[in-house]
Symmetry: C2
Subunit: 351 residues, 2 copies
């Protein structure tokens, strides 16, 4: 079979971003020859450093270049020296919205040998996928401020939810659920308070669900869901939820599955009208940047998701297996640097 | 000292509500003679049963009667037979908004002897108070639906935040923090995404904080906060947050502190322009209603908060101590019914 060339945009970003991305790419290079694919990399200088230098977060021209790529790997962006929201709204969320990443895919899986803060749980108990909506809800940026700084100030934020937007993410979640052994889909929302949006999600779940009789469905308020994540994580197989609830519950998901150093994610455009973007859930952690302390595992697992997305399922499984084996051995391996972890996993996938 | 008579409105509600309220009142009666206060009770029939009978959630006339009371004790309302949101918006939230319960006070405390789902934590690690805003944010009900049921449907929910509303809850939280040994106040929000509302909270924290130099302040994104609740609960002393984030994090709080059966809350109007309302965080649990299985402890701890609110601090401490002693012994006591738990605690406070 002829080797397929894939245009890969790399956004190392700030803080530990470049360090973990380097290990992700190391593993990608180690596994690539085993598939029928080659990656053509272009690196993009975006993040806090560029903002300080030029005041730019994501120039239109760069966005257009990104559109021409097949897939994106992002490390982390952000720095305390940049006003909160500048890079989040101007770069991260702009990319998700402009490239129509309407599925934010976040597996929550406890690998054998990984320490969880929960007592009495085993890897069988924590194995779910959260399908977080990525392009609407409270993340739209709609809202504003009136009489700022006065005693009469009013600040609003609007959650905007559309039949179009909800249906496509719910449908995707049903597809994921249908492909898994348990075939269970739980809607997480707060339909007793956010009645308009919650009702739209509920009706959509019911309507689309009629096409997936093999998938059982379930509903859970977001507040109760956080409690079940901690007390009964077995309850969940696939979860579909809005942009903000998804943000919150996937961080609890990361916590129970061994921490943010292991949590991978994909900002996916399932229609492939623009490139999808894969990134660790963690941030730029400037406090440990440059010290070789960051765990690159979340990035490496994001690379596995990226491989799946470009159709290299066999390579994706190899990376996941290598990570799983590495994690199982980790206790015995003692403290390792960022690049030692990357080397070990790269060796496993190529070996 | 002359005995003070306090008008107490009781809303037993649905499901396990009446059962747990009965135990709360039992403890209240047992402790009352020890203070200089007497309670004059009026019971209100509100909840799912009334809605089914009359279609009413909270008639204006009942609301006016409630306004004439000094304090309210609520069990739980809700039933799956009532459309989601009907009682929540029409009764619970209506009461909180109309009676200006702008502080929703939720202690998160691990009592000795209580089993937590977290490994490696002790009661010293979990002892915080969440001050949740109660009258604005995403709970306003502002929003709507356009083209319902069509492929062009749009459903919105608006978070409305005012300088007036944010300042008063932040100020209350500083007062709580100043009264505690650690004197630490953490703002939980999502100011990198919900930039307008987050910025209002941040500026208010800074401005009001200038009046409380003895209190140290801190900020944490809501997603990270959920992770820290599970991984580093020691991090928190007093937390101030908006209505929705408060709803979510206090359920994780309940989970880590031994479950929803122990979580108490107060919907407080600190200006005393209307009665405050105390209630367990849990719902009506219709699946176990009428079986004597519900744990009344959350309601009994809510009664302790109620006692504090009406100025009976000594009685409040006795109830808390009795609960603490009961919990410490619980393992040895074996399974007990709702009324056995109430009897045991009532005996301790009167003994
Ligand atoms: C950085 C922030 C904008 C982002 C989000 O809220 O989505 C992050 O928390 C995440 O989960 O990817
Ligand atoms: C029942 C519901 C309206 C309520 C809320 O969201 O505030 C409940 O979850 C709570 O925490 O008291």
């Amino acid at each position: 079979m002829a080797s397929r060339s894939i245009r890969l945009a790399v956004i190392p970003g700030d803080g530990i971003g470049p360090e973990v991305v380097a290990e992700g790419l190391k593993v990608l290079e180690a596994v690539a020859p085993s598939g029928d694919l080659a990656f053509e990399q272009t690196s993009y200088d975006l993040g806090a450093a560029r903002w300080h230098r030029t005041g730019e977060t994501l120039p239109d021209s760069v966005l257009e270049e990104l559109r021409g790529q097949d897939v994106i790997l992002l490390g982390a962006v952000g720095d305390p020296s940049v006003p909160s929201g500048t890079l989040e709204r101007g770069l991260l969320l702009r990319t998700r919205f402009e490239l129509d990443h309407y599925v934010n895919l976040r597996p929550v899986k406890l690998f054998p040998g990984v320490k969880t803060p929960l007592a009495d749980v085993t890897p069988e108990d924590i194995d779910m996928v959260v399908v977080r909506e990525g392009t609407e809800g409270p993340y739209t940026g709609v809202g504003g401020v009136l009489r700022k700084g006065t005693e009469h100030e009013v600040a609003t934020q609007e959650s905007v939810n559309t039949a179009f937007g909800v249906e496509r993410v719910v449908r995707y979640a049903f597809e994921v659920a249908a492909s898994r052994p348990r075939k269970k889909l739980t809607l997480v929302h707060k339909d007793n308070v956010l009645t308009f949006a919650g009702d739209l999600y509920q009706r959509t779940l019911k309507r689309v669900g009629a096409e997936y009789p093999q998938v059982s469905t379930d509903y859970c308020h977001v507040d109760a869901a956080t409690m079940f994540f901690v007390g009964q994580p077995q309850r969940f197989d696939v979860v579909v939820t809005d942009n903000l609830f998804g943000d919150i519950i996937t961080d609890i998901g990361a916590a129970i599955a061994g921490g943010i150093g292991l949590a991978a994610s994909g900002n996916v455009n399932p229609d492939r009208t623009a490139p999808s973007m894969f990134e660790p859930v963690h941030g730029s952690a400037p406090d440990i940047a440059g010290q070789g302390k960051a765990d690159p595992t979340a990035t490496i697992l994001s690379v596995a998701m990226l491989l799946d997305h470009v159709g290299a399922a066999e390579a994706a499984r190899r990376v996941e297996q290598a990570v799983s084996d590495d994690l199982a051995e980790r206790g015995a391996l003692g403290a390792r640097s960022t690049s030692q972890v990357g080397d070990a996993i790269a060796k496993r996938v190529s070996g």
